[in-house]
Protein backbone atom coordinates (compact mmCIF):
# COMPACT_ATOMS: atom_id res chain seq x y z
CA UNK A 1 0.00 0.00 0.00
CA UNK A 2 1.40 3.35 -0.95
CA UNK A 3 0.71 6.71 0.58
CA UNK A 4 1.01 10.05 -1.09
CA UNK A 5 4.08 11.71 0.35
CA UNK A 6 4.33 15.47 0.20
CA UNK A 7 7.27 17.64 1.12
CA UNK A 8 7.25 18.67 4.79
CA UNK A 9 6.73 22.30 3.88
CA UNK A 10 3.48 21.45 2.13
CA UNK A 11 2.32 19.36 5.06
CA UNK A 12 3.03 22.23 7.43
CA UNK A 13 1.19 24.53 5.08
CA UNK A 14 -1.80 22.19 5.15
CA UNK A 15 -1.84 22.33 8.96
CA UNK A 16 -1.70 26.12 8.85
CA UNK A 17 -4.53 26.08 6.32
CA UNK A 18 -6.75 23.98 8.58
CA UNK A 19 -6.16 26.33 11.51
CA UNK A 20 -6.71 29.39 9.35
CA UNK A 21 -10.02 28.09 7.99
CA UNK A 22 -11.22 27.29 11.51
CA UNK A 23 -10.22 30.77 12.72
CA UNK A 24 -11.96 32.50 9.83
CA UNK A 25 -15.18 30.54 10.39
CA UNK A 26 -14.96 31.50 14.07
CA UNK A 27 -14.56 35.17 13.14
CA UNK A 28 -17.57 34.92 10.82
CA UNK A 29 -19.66 33.35 13.61
CA UNK A 30 -18.57 36.11 15.97
CA UNK A 31 -19.57 38.81 13.48
CA UNK A 32 -16.02 40.21 13.37
CA UNK A 33 -16.03 40.26 9.58
CA UNK A 34 -18.38 42.32 7.40
CA UNK A 35 -21.30 42.69 6.92
CA UNK A 36 -22.05 44.63 10.10
CA UNK A 37 -24.35 42.85 12.52
CA UNK A 38 -26.54 44.77 14.98
CA UNK A 39 -25.56 43.63 18.48
CA UNK A 40 -26.57 44.56 21.99
CA UNK A 41 -23.45 46.67 22.50
CA UNK A 42 -24.44 48.96 19.62
CA UNK A 43 -27.85 49.56 21.19
CA UNK A 44 -26.37 50.33 24.61
CA UNK A 45 -23.69 52.54 23.02
CA UNK A 46 -26.46 54.54 21.33
CA UNK A 47 -28.25 54.94 24.68
CA UNK A 48 -25.02 56.08 26.37
CA UNK A 49 -24.34 58.56 23.59
CA UNK A 50 -27.88 59.92 23.92
CA UNK A 51 -28.03 60.40 27.70
CA UNK A 52 -24.42 60.25 28.83
CA UNK A 53 -22.74 57.47 30.79
CA UNK A 54 -23.88 57.32 34.40
CA UNK A 55 -21.75 54.69 36.16
CA UNK A 56 -23.69 52.08 38.08
CA UNK A 57 -27.06 52.96 36.57
CA UNK A 58 -29.26 51.25 34.02
CA UNK A 59 -28.60 52.64 30.53
CA UNK A 60 -32.33 53.10 30.06
CA UNK A 61 -34.92 53.80 32.73
CA UNK A 62 -32.08 54.87 34.99
CA UNK A 63 -34.29 56.42 37.65
CA UNK A 64 -36.31 53.92 39.60
CA UNK A 65 -37.69 52.53 42.83
CA UNK A 66 -37.84 48.88 43.97
CA UNK A 67 -41.22 47.45 44.90
CA UNK A 68 -42.49 44.20 46.41
CA UNK A 69 -45.81 42.43 46.55
CA UNK A 70 -47.66 39.43 45.19
CA UNK A 71 -49.76 38.25 42.28
CA UNK A 72 -53.06 36.49 43.01
CA UNK A 73 -54.22 34.40 40.10
CA UNK A 74 -57.98 33.84 39.79
CA UNK A 75 -57.52 30.71 37.64
CA UNK A 76 -58.86 32.22 34.39
CA UNK A 77 -55.40 32.36 32.86
CA UNK A 78 -55.05 28.58 33.11
CA UNK A 79 -57.39 28.29 30.12
CA UNK A 80 -54.88 30.18 27.98
CA UNK A 81 -51.50 29.06 29.37
CA UNK A 82 -50.19 26.10 31.28
CA UNK A 83 -47.72 28.37 33.17
CA UNK A 84 -47.87 27.64 36.90
CA UNK A 85 -48.41 31.34 37.61
CA UNK A 86 -52.01 30.99 36.35
CA UNK A 87 -52.99 28.22 38.73
CA UNK A 88 -55.27 29.68 41.39
CA UNK A 89 -52.59 30.79 43.84
CA UNK A 90 -50.48 33.67 45.14
CA UNK A 91 -46.96 34.22 43.79
CA UNK A 92 -44.32 36.54 45.24
CA UNK A 93 -43.37 39.54 43.10
CA UNK A 94 -40.51 41.99 43.09
CA UNK A 95 -40.45 44.89 40.68
CA UNK A 96 -39.48 48.41 39.85
CA UNK A 97 -41.19 51.66 38.95
CA UNK A 98 -39.11 53.81 36.65
CA UNK A 99 -39.12 56.77 34.33
CA UNK A 100 -37.71 56.66 30.81
CA UNK A 101 -34.29 57.81 29.69
CA UNK A 102 -30.76 57.16 30.84
CA UNK A 103 -30.38 60.08 33.27
CA UNK A 104 -30.72 58.89 36.87
CA UNK A 105 -31.27 62.42 38.23
CA UNK A 106 -33.75 63.60 35.60
CA UNK A 107 -36.86 65.33 36.97
CA UNK A 108 -40.12 63.36 36.91
CA UNK A 109 -42.04 66.18 35.22
CA UNK A 110 -41.27 65.13 31.66
CA UNK A 111 -43.22 63.59 28.85
CA UNK A 112 -41.32 60.30 29.06
CA UNK A 113 -42.09 56.64 29.53
CA UNK A 114 -43.30 55.58 32.94
CA UNK A 115 -42.66 51.94 33.49
CA UNK A 116 -43.50 49.02 35.70
CA UNK A 117 -41.11 46.08 35.69
CA UNK A 118 -41.99 42.81 37.39
CA UNK A 119 -40.48 39.47 38.30
CA UNK A 120 -43.08 36.89 39.31
CA UNK A 121 -41.91 33.62 40.83
CA UNK A 122 -44.02 30.50 40.41
CA UNK A 123 -44.36 27.81 43.09
CA UNK A 124 -41.96 25.59 41.09
CA UNK A 125 -39.31 28.35 41.00
CA UNK A 126 -39.78 29.34 37.35
CA UNK A 127 -39.86 33.10 36.82
CA UNK A 128 -41.81 35.45 34.60
CA UNK A 129 -40.14 38.80 34.04
CA UNK A 130 -41.49 41.74 32.15
CA UNK A 131 -40.84 45.43 31.62
CA UNK A 132 -44.06 47.30 30.86
CA UNK A 133 -44.60 50.87 29.67
CA UNK A 134 -47.49 53.27 30.15
CA UNK A 135 -48.08 53.41 26.40
CA UNK A 136 -49.82 50.63 24.42
CA UNK A 137 -47.51 51.34 21.49
CA UNK A 138 -43.76 51.73 21.10
CA UNK A 139 -42.08 54.42 18.96
CA UNK A 140 -40.19 51.90 16.81
CA UNK A 141 -40.80 48.41 15.45
CA UNK A 142 -37.24 47.15 14.95
CA UNK A 143 -33.93 47.25 16.84
CA UNK A 144 -32.28 49.13 13.96
CA UNK A 145 -35.00 51.80 14.03
CA UNK A 146 -34.47 52.08 17.80
CA UNK A 147 -30.75 52.77 17.30
CA UNK A 148 -31.50 55.21 14.45
CA UNK A 149 -34.06 57.01 16.63
CA UNK A 150 -31.57 57.33 19.50
CA UNK A 151 -28.87 58.65 17.17
CA UNK A 152 -31.19 61.14 15.45
CA UNK A 153 -32.36 62.57 18.78
CA UNK A 154 -28.97 62.64 20.52
CA UNK A 155 -28.34 66.18 21.77
CA UNK A 156 -25.67 68.09 19.90
CA UNK A 157 -22.96 68.97 22.47
CA UNK A 158 -22.84 72.56 21.13
CA UNK A 159 -26.53 73.40 21.43
CA UNK A 160 -27.65 70.81 23.98
CA UNK A 161 -30.47 69.96 21.58
CA UNK A 162 -30.86 67.35 18.85
CA UNK A 163 -29.94 68.48 15.36
CA UNK A 164 -33.32 69.40 13.77
CA UNK A 165 -32.13 68.22 10.36
CA UNK A 166 -31.34 64.73 11.69
CA UNK A 167 -34.64 64.55 13.55
CA UNK A 168 -36.51 65.65 10.43
CA UNK A 169 -34.81 63.05 8.25
CA UNK A 170 -35.50 60.31 10.77
CA UNK A 171 -39.15 61.29 11.25
CA UNK A 172 -39.72 61.49 7.51
CA UNK A 173 -38.66 57.86 7.21
CA UNK A 174 -40.55 56.64 10.28
CA UNK A 175 -44.29 57.39 10.27
CA UNK A 176 -44.70 54.93 13.17
CA UNK A 177 -42.56 57.18 15.38
CA UNK A 178 -44.64 60.21 14.34
CA UNK A 179 -47.77 58.29 15.34
CA UNK A 180 -46.22 57.54 18.72
CA UNK A 181 -45.20 61.15 19.36
CA UNK A 182 -48.70 62.36 18.43
CA UNK A 183 -50.23 59.71 20.69
CA UNK A 184 -47.99 60.76 23.58
CA UNK A 185 -48.92 64.42 23.10
CA UNK A 186 -52.67 63.86 22.71
CA UNK A 187 -53.36 61.21 25.34
CA UNK A 188 -54.11 62.33 28.89
CA UNK A 189 -51.29 61.55 31.32
CA UNK A 190 -52.02 60.19 34.78
CA UNK A 191 -51.04 61.94 38.01
CA UNK A 192 -49.31 58.92 39.51
CA UNK A 193 -47.76 55.50 38.96
CA UNK A 194 -50.68 54.23 41.05
CA UNK A 195 -53.45 55.14 38.57
CA UNK A 196 -51.53 54.27 35.42
CA UNK A 197 -52.13 51.38 33.04
CA UNK A 198 -48.99 49.51 32.00
CA UNK A 199 -48.72 47.56 28.75
CA UNK A 200 -46.64 44.57 27.64
CA UNK A 201 -45.64 46.47 24.45
CA UNK A 202 -44.77 43.26 22.60
CA UNK A 203 -46.96 40.30 21.72
CA UNK A 204 -46.26 36.88 23.25
CA UNK A 205 -47.50 33.33 22.85
CA UNK A 206 -49.49 31.59 25.56
CA UNK A 207 -49.47 27.81 25.26
CA UNK A 208 -52.30 25.94 27.00
CA UNK A 209 -52.52 22.37 28.35
CA UNK A 210 -53.57 20.99 24.98
CA UNK A 211 -50.62 22.60 23.20
CA UNK A 212 -52.80 25.25 21.56
CA UNK A 213 -51.10 28.63 21.10
CA UNK A 214 -52.81 31.94 21.81
CA UNK A 215 -51.23 35.16 20.58
CA UNK A 216 -51.61 37.71 23.36
CA UNK A 217 -50.63 41.07 24.74
CA UNK A 218 -51.35 42.07 28.31
CA UNK A 219 -51.74 45.10 30.51
CA UNK A 220 -51.98 45.92 34.20
CA UNK A 221 -55.02 48.12 34.82
CA UNK A 222 -55.12 50.01 38.12
CA UNK A 223 -57.88 49.80 40.70
CA UNK A 224 -56.94 53.38 41.65
CA UNK A 225 -59.18 55.63 39.50
CA UNK A 226 -57.47 57.46 36.64
CA UNK A 227 -56.81 61.14 37.18
CA UNK A 228 -55.20 63.31 34.50
CA UNK A 229 -52.35 65.63 35.24
CA UNK A 230 -52.24 69.08 33.66
CA UNK A 231 -49.35 68.60 31.26
CA UNK A 232 -48.64 72.36 31.31
CA UNK A 233 -47.64 72.06 34.98
CA UNK A 234 -45.21 69.16 34.49
CA UNK A 235 -42.12 71.35 34.42
CA UNK A 236 -43.05 73.02 37.70
CA UNK A 237 -43.45 69.77 39.66
CA UNK A 238 -40.88 68.73 42.27
CA UNK A 239 -38.08 66.64 40.75
CA UNK A 240 -39.17 63.37 42.37
CA UNK A 241 -42.92 63.97 42.58
CA UNK A 242 -43.92 60.70 40.94
CA UNK A 243 -41.73 58.55 43.16
CA UNK A 244 -42.54 60.51 46.32
CA UNK A 245 -46.23 60.10 45.52
CA UNK A 246 -46.12 56.34 45.12
CA UNK A 247 -43.94 55.91 48.21
CA UNK A 248 -46.46 57.93 50.24
CA UNK A 249 -49.37 55.93 48.85
CA UNK A 250 -47.67 52.62 49.61
CA UNK A 251 -46.94 53.77 53.15
CA UNK A 252 -50.72 54.07 53.61
CA UNK A 253 -52.21 51.21 51.56
CA UNK A 254 -51.22 48.50 49.09
CA UNK A 255 -51.86 49.33 45.41
CA UNK A 256 -53.67 46.95 43.06
CA UNK A 257 -53.71 46.30 39.34
CA UNK A 258 -55.60 43.68 37.29
CA UNK A 259 -53.68 41.64 34.78
CA UNK A 260 -55.75 41.79 31.60
CA UNK A 261 -54.78 39.43 28.79
CA UNK A 262 -55.86 40.54 25.30
CA UNK A 263 -56.22 37.76 22.74
CA UNK A 264 -55.29 38.42 19.11
CA UNK A 265 -57.43 37.33 16.20
CA UNK A 266 -55.98 36.00 12.97
CA UNK A 267 -54.30 38.79 11.07
CA UNK A 268 -53.48 40.95 14.10
CA UNK A 269 -49.81 41.92 13.84
CA UNK A 270 -47.64 40.16 16.42
CA UNK A 271 -44.29 41.49 15.16
CA UNK A 272 -45.04 45.21 15.28
CA UNK A 273 -45.10 46.98 18.65
CA UNK A 274 -46.02 50.29 17.00
CA UNK A 275 -49.61 49.26 16.29
CA UNK A 276 -52.50 48.45 18.59
CA UNK A 277 -54.95 45.63 17.99
CA UNK A 278 -58.61 46.53 17.40
CA UNK A 279 -60.43 47.50 20.59
CA UNK A 280 -63.00 44.69 20.37
CA UNK A 281 -60.52 41.86 21.02
CA UNK A 282 -61.34 39.43 23.82
CA UNK A 283 -59.92 40.46 27.17
CA UNK A 284 -59.52 38.15 30.15
CA UNK A 285 -58.88 39.30 33.72
CA UNK A 286 -56.50 36.63 35.04
CA UNK A 287 -55.58 37.99 38.46
CA UNK A 288 -54.56 40.84 40.73
CA UNK A 289 -51.17 42.38 41.32
CA UNK A 290 -50.80 43.75 44.84
CA UNK A 291 -47.84 46.05 45.51
CA UNK A 292 -47.44 46.72 49.21
CA UNK A 293 -43.87 47.85 49.73
CA UNK A 294 -41.30 50.23 48.22
CA UNK A 295 -37.54 50.32 48.75
CA UNK A 296 -34.94 52.64 47.28
CA UNK A 297 -32.62 50.78 44.94
CA UNK A 298 -29.73 50.66 47.40
CA UNK A 299 -31.92 48.61 49.70
CA UNK A 300 -34.10 46.65 47.29
CA UNK A 301 -33.56 43.57 45.14
CA UNK A 302 -34.45 45.17 41.81
CA UNK A 303 -31.18 46.86 40.99
CA UNK A 304 -28.96 43.88 40.21
CA UNK A 305 -31.34 41.95 37.98
CA UNK A 306 -32.78 42.68 34.56
CA UNK A 307 -36.47 42.63 33.75
CA UNK A 308 -35.65 40.69 30.60
CA UNK A 309 -38.92 40.04 28.77
CA UNK A 310 -37.57 36.71 27.52
CA UNK A 311 -37.32 35.24 31.02
CA UNK A 312 -40.55 33.30 30.69
CA UNK A 313 -42.00 30.24 32.39
CA UNK A 314 -42.92 27.22 30.35
CA UNK A 315 -46.37 28.02 28.89
CA UNK A 316 -45.38 31.53 27.81
CA UNK A 317 -43.12 32.06 24.79
CA UNK A 318 -41.89 34.96 22.68
CA UNK A 319 -43.74 36.11 19.57
CA UNK A 320 -41.97 36.97 16.34
CA UNK A 321 -41.56 40.60 17.48
CA UNK A 322 -37.95 41.55 16.60
CA UNK A 323 -37.77 43.93 19.56
CA UNK A 324 -37.86 41.05 22.06
CA UNK A 325 -34.37 39.57 21.50
CA UNK A 326 -33.03 43.13 21.29
CA UNK A 327 -34.53 44.07 24.64
CA UNK A 328 -33.15 40.88 26.16
CA UNK A 329 -29.67 41.48 24.75
CA UNK A 330 -29.52 45.19 25.56
CA UNK A 331 -30.67 44.62 29.15
CA UNK A 332 -27.96 41.99 29.64
CA UNK A 333 -25.32 44.28 28.15
CA UNK A 334 -26.45 47.17 30.35
CA UNK A 335 -26.34 44.89 33.42
CA UNK A 336 -22.81 43.73 32.64
CA UNK A 337 -21.66 47.34 32.24
CA UNK A 338 -23.34 48.90 35.25
CA UNK A 339 -22.61 46.03 37.63
CA UNK A 340 -18.89 46.46 37.12
CA UNK A 341 -18.98 50.17 37.90
CA UNK A 342 -19.04 51.68 41.33
CA UNK A 343 -22.15 53.75 40.97
CA UNK A 344 -23.58 56.31 43.30
CA UNK A 345 -26.82 55.65 45.17
CA UNK A 346 -29.95 56.43 43.20
CA UNK A 347 -31.41 59.93 42.89
CA UNK A 348 -34.01 58.93 45.43
CA UNK A 349 -31.55 57.90 48.13
CA UNK A 350 -31.19 61.42 49.49
CA UNK A 351 -34.77 62.45 48.89
CA UNK A 352 -36.45 63.20 52.25
CA UNK A 353 -39.77 61.73 51.17
CA UNK A 354 -38.12 58.62 49.80
CA UNK A 355 -36.48 57.95 53.17
CA UNK A 356 -39.82 56.43 54.10
CA UNK A 357 -39.06 53.70 51.61
CA UNK A 358 -36.03 52.60 53.59
CA UNK A 359 -36.28 49.44 55.65
Amino acid sequence: MTRLTLPVALRLLAIGGVLLVLSVVFAIAAGWLPPHRLGAATIVDALEAHDGRHPGFRRAHAKGLCIEGSFSSNGNGALLSKAGIFAKSDSPVIGRFSTGGGQPYAPDGRLAFRSLALSLTQADGEQWRMALDDTPIFPVATPQAFVDFQRATTPDPKTGKPDPALVHTYMAEHPETRTFVRWQQDTPLSTSFANETFYSINAFRFIDDTGKTWMVRWSFEPETPFEAIDKATLGARPANFLFDDVIARLARNPLRWHLIVTIAEPGDPTDDATTVWPANRNRVDVGTLVIDHALTEENGDCRNITFDPLILPSGIAPSDDPLLPARSGAYASSLARRDGEHGKPSALADDPEARRARP
Binding site: V18, G31, L38, E126, R303
Partner: protein, 217 residues
Protein backbone atom coordinates in the same frame (compact mmCIF):
# COMPACT_ATOMS: atom_id res chain seq x y z
CA UNK B 1 2.16 -10.42 28.05
CA UNK B 2 1.13 -6.79 28.53
CA UNK B 3 2.79 -3.95 26.78
CA UNK B 4 2.16 -0.27 27.66
CA UNK B 5 -1.03 1.07 26.08
CA UNK B 6 -0.45 2.83 22.79
CA UNK B 7 -3.97 4.23 22.58
CA UNK B 8 -6.43 5.79 24.97
CA UNK B 9 -9.32 3.56 26.10
CA UNK B 10 -12.07 3.43 23.50
CA UNK B 11 -14.57 5.17 25.84
CA UNK B 12 -12.19 8.08 26.25
CA UNK B 13 -11.56 8.29 22.50
CA UNK B 14 -15.32 8.36 21.87
CA UNK B 15 -15.75 11.06 24.51
CA UNK B 16 -12.86 13.06 23.06
CA UNK B 17 -14.44 13.30 19.62
CA UNK B 18 -17.96 13.79 20.93
CA UNK B 19 -16.75 16.59 23.18
CA UNK B 20 -14.62 18.08 20.42
CA UNK B 21 -17.78 18.53 18.37
CA UNK B 22 -19.78 19.83 21.36
CA UNK B 23 -17.10 22.26 22.53
CA UNK B 24 -16.39 23.68 19.08
CA UNK B 25 -20.13 24.06 18.48
CA UNK B 26 -20.43 25.70 21.89
CA UNK B 27 -17.70 28.26 21.13
CA UNK B 28 -19.27 29.14 17.79
CA UNK B 29 -22.74 29.38 19.35
CA UNK B 30 -21.35 31.52 22.17
CA UNK B 31 -19.65 34.14 20.03
CA UNK B 32 -22.58 34.07 17.62
CA UNK B 33 -25.31 34.62 20.20
CA UNK B 34 -23.65 37.64 21.82
CA UNK B 35 -22.98 39.23 18.44
CA UNK B 36 -26.59 39.67 17.39
CA UNK B 37 -30.00 40.79 18.59
CA UNK B 38 -31.83 38.95 15.81
CA UNK B 39 -34.08 36.03 16.72
CA UNK B 40 -30.99 33.82 16.29
CA UNK B 41 -29.88 35.16 19.68
CA UNK B 42 -32.79 33.60 21.55
CA UNK B 43 -32.44 30.36 19.65
CA UNK B 44 -28.69 30.09 20.24
CA UNK B 45 -28.93 30.93 23.95
CA UNK B 46 -31.55 28.22 24.40
CA UNK B 47 -29.04 25.82 22.82
CA UNK B 48 -25.99 27.18 24.68
CA UNK B 49 -27.27 26.53 28.20
CA UNK B 50 -28.19 22.81 28.00
CA UNK B 51 -25.17 22.09 25.79
CA UNK B 52 -22.92 23.70 28.40
CA UNK B 53 -24.33 21.54 31.16
CA UNK B 54 -23.97 18.46 28.92
CA UNK B 55 -20.28 19.30 28.39
CA UNK B 56 -19.82 19.69 32.15
CA UNK B 57 -21.30 16.21 32.73
CA UNK B 58 -19.24 14.65 29.93
CA UNK B 59 -16.10 16.31 31.30
CA UNK B 60 -16.72 14.72 34.70
CA UNK B 61 -17.10 11.24 33.16
CA UNK B 62 -14.05 11.82 30.98
CA UNK B 63 -11.86 12.91 33.87
CA UNK B 64 -12.75 9.72 35.77
CA UNK B 65 -11.78 7.55 32.80
CA UNK B 66 -8.62 9.57 32.20
CA UNK B 67 -7.52 9.12 35.81
CA UNK B 68 -8.47 5.43 35.92
CA UNK B 69 -6.39 4.38 32.91
CA UNK B 70 -2.81 5.33 32.10
CA UNK B 71 -2.33 7.54 29.08
CA UNK B 72 -0.16 6.21 26.27
CA UNK B 73 3.44 7.36 26.59
CA UNK B 74 4.60 10.16 24.36
CA UNK B 75 7.28 9.26 21.84
CA UNK B 76 10.61 8.93 23.61
CA UNK B 77 12.28 11.34 21.20
CA UNK B 78 9.80 14.17 21.73
CA UNK B 79 11.78 17.28 22.74
CA UNK B 80 11.36 18.36 26.36
CA UNK B 81 9.70 21.67 25.46
CA UNK B 82 7.08 19.97 23.29
CA UNK B 83 6.54 17.42 26.05
CA UNK B 84 5.94 20.19 28.57
CA UNK B 85 3.66 22.07 26.18
CA UNK B 86 1.68 18.86 25.66
CA UNK B 87 1.13 18.30 29.37
CA UNK B 88 0.34 21.95 30.07
CA UNK B 89 -2.16 22.26 27.21
CA UNK B 90 -3.90 19.03 28.19
CA UNK B 91 -4.15 20.24 31.78
CA UNK B 92 -5.58 23.58 30.62
CA UNK B 93 -8.06 21.84 28.34
CA UNK B 94 -9.35 19.78 31.26
CA UNK B 95 -9.49 22.81 33.56
CA UNK B 96 -11.41 24.85 30.97
CA UNK B 97 -13.83 22.01 30.20
CA UNK B 98 -14.93 22.31 33.81
CA UNK B 99 -14.40 26.03 34.33
CA UNK B 100 -16.36 27.41 31.38
CA UNK B 101 -19.70 25.70 32.05
CA UNK B 102 -19.35 26.26 35.79
CA UNK B 103 -18.56 29.96 35.33
CA UNK B 104 -21.44 30.29 32.86
CA UNK B 105 -23.82 28.76 35.40
CA UNK B 106 -22.44 30.93 38.24
CA UNK B 107 -22.57 34.02 36.01
CA UNK B 108 -26.27 33.54 35.27
CA UNK B 109 -26.86 32.94 38.99
CA UNK B 110 -25.04 36.15 39.96
CA UNK B 111 -27.01 38.12 37.34
CA UNK B 112 -30.31 36.80 38.71
CA UNK B 113 -31.02 34.83 35.54
CA UNK B 114 -32.79 31.50 35.98
CA UNK B 115 -30.76 28.67 34.43
CA UNK B 116 -33.62 27.19 32.46
CA UNK B 117 -32.44 24.18 30.45
CA UNK B 118 -35.56 22.90 28.73
CA UNK B 119 -39.24 22.99 29.54
CA UNK B 120 -39.75 23.49 33.24
CA UNK B 121 -36.31 22.13 34.17
CA UNK B 122 -34.43 24.89 36.01
CA UNK B 123 -31.05 24.43 37.68
CA UNK B 124 -30.56 25.97 41.13
CA UNK B 125 -28.35 29.07 41.42
CA UNK B 126 -24.74 28.37 42.44
CA UNK B 127 -23.86 31.99 43.29
CA UNK B 128 -25.70 34.80 45.09
CA UNK B 129 -27.24 37.64 43.06
CA UNK B 130 -24.32 40.06 43.07
CA UNK B 131 -23.63 42.86 40.60
CA UNK B 132 -19.83 43.06 40.56
CA UNK B 133 -19.60 39.25 40.64
CA UNK B 134 -21.85 39.05 37.57
CA UNK B 135 -19.67 41.48 35.63
CA UNK B 136 -16.50 39.67 36.69
CA UNK B 137 -17.84 36.23 35.75
CA UNK B 138 -19.20 37.45 32.44
CA UNK B 139 -15.80 38.89 31.52
CA UNK B 140 -14.09 35.73 32.76
CA UNK B 141 -16.46 33.59 30.67
CA UNK B 142 -15.56 35.56 27.55
CA UNK B 143 -11.80 35.65 28.17
CA UNK B 144 -11.63 31.95 29.05
CA UNK B 145 -13.75 31.01 26.02
CA UNK B 146 -11.30 32.86 23.75
CA UNK B 147 -8.42 31.16 25.59
CA UNK B 148 -10.06 27.78 25.06
CA UNK B 149 -10.45 28.44 21.36
CA UNK B 150 -6.77 29.43 21.13
CA UNK B 151 -5.67 26.28 22.98
CA UNK B 152 -7.91 24.14 20.77
CA UNK B 153 -6.22 25.65 17.72
CA UNK B 154 -2.81 24.83 19.22
CA UNK B 155 -3.99 21.34 20.20
CA UNK B 156 -5.33 20.64 16.72
CA UNK B 157 -2.20 22.06 15.12
CA UNK B 158 0.00 19.85 17.30
CA UNK B 159 -2.18 16.79 16.67
CA UNK B 160 -1.98 17.30 12.91
CA UNK B 161 1.78 17.82 13.21
CA UNK B 162 1.99 14.40 14.86
CA UNK B 163 -0.32 12.92 12.23
CA UNK B 164 1.15 14.45 9.08
CA UNK B 165 4.71 15.39 9.89
CA UNK B 166 6.08 13.31 12.73
CA UNK B 167 3.82 10.32 12.03
CA UNK B 168 4.72 8.93 15.42
CA UNK B 169 1.48 7.23 16.53
CA UNK B 170 0.35 10.09 18.77
CA UNK B 171 -2.55 10.92 16.42
CA UNK B 172 -3.59 7.26 16.29
CA UNK B 173 -3.66 7.16 20.10
CA UNK B 174 -6.87 9.20 19.95
CA UNK B 175 -8.47 8.21 16.63
CA UNK B 176 -11.49 5.99 16.31
CA UNK B 177 -11.09 4.33 12.93
CA UNK B 178 -9.21 1.27 11.75
CA UNK B 179 -5.57 1.44 10.72
CA UNK B 180 -4.49 1.60 14.31
CA UNK B 181 -3.85 -2.12 14.28
CA UNK B 182 -0.69 -1.40 12.36
CA UNK B 183 0.42 1.06 14.95
CA UNK B 184 -0.22 -1.31 17.79
CA UNK B 185 1.55 -4.15 16.06
CA UNK B 186 4.45 -1.99 15.07
CA UNK B 187 4.60 -0.42 18.47
CA UNK B 188 4.71 -3.79 20.14
CA UNK B 189 7.58 -4.76 17.87
CA UNK B 190 9.41 -1.61 18.72
CA UNK B 191 8.19 0.33 15.67
CA UNK B 192 5.75 3.19 15.92
CA UNK B 193 5.08 3.91 12.34
CA UNK B 194 2.12 3.27 10.14
CA UNK B 195 1.67 1.23 7.07
CA UNK B 196 4.52 2.16 4.81
CA UNK B 197 7.46 0.03 4.04
CA UNK B 198 10.54 0.64 6.13
CA UNK B 199 12.62 1.43 3.07
CA UNK B 200 10.32 4.16 1.78
CA UNK B 201 9.96 5.47 5.27
CA UNK B 202 13.65 5.78 6.00
CA UNK B 203 14.38 7.17 2.59
CA UNK B 204 11.91 9.89 3.29
CA UNK B 205 13.28 10.58 6.73
CA UNK B 206 16.66 11.28 5.27
CA UNK B 207 15.14 14.12 3.32
CA UNK B 208 13.02 15.25 6.19
CA UNK B 209 14.87 17.28 8.80
CA UNK B 210 11.94 17.12 11.21
CA UNK B 211 12.09 13.33 11.33
CA UNK B 212 15.85 13.02 11.50
CA UNK B 213 17.21 10.82 14.19
CA UNK B 214 13.95 9.13 14.99
CA UNK B 215 13.13 5.49 14.73
CA UNK B 216 16.65 4.30 14.14
CA UNK B 217 16.92 2.16 17.20
Amino acid sequence: MTSPATRFPVALRLLHWLMAVCILAMLFIGVGMVSTVSEMRTWLIDLHKPLGILILCLAAIRLCIRLAYPAPALPADLPVLQRMATHLSHLLLYVLMFALPTIGWAMLSAGGYPVQLFGTFVLPPIAPIDGPLFTFLRQAHTVLAMTLFAIILAHLGAALFHAWVRRDGVWQAMTLGRGQLHVIQLASSGRRYGDRSGVAREAEEDRDPLCRGRNRR
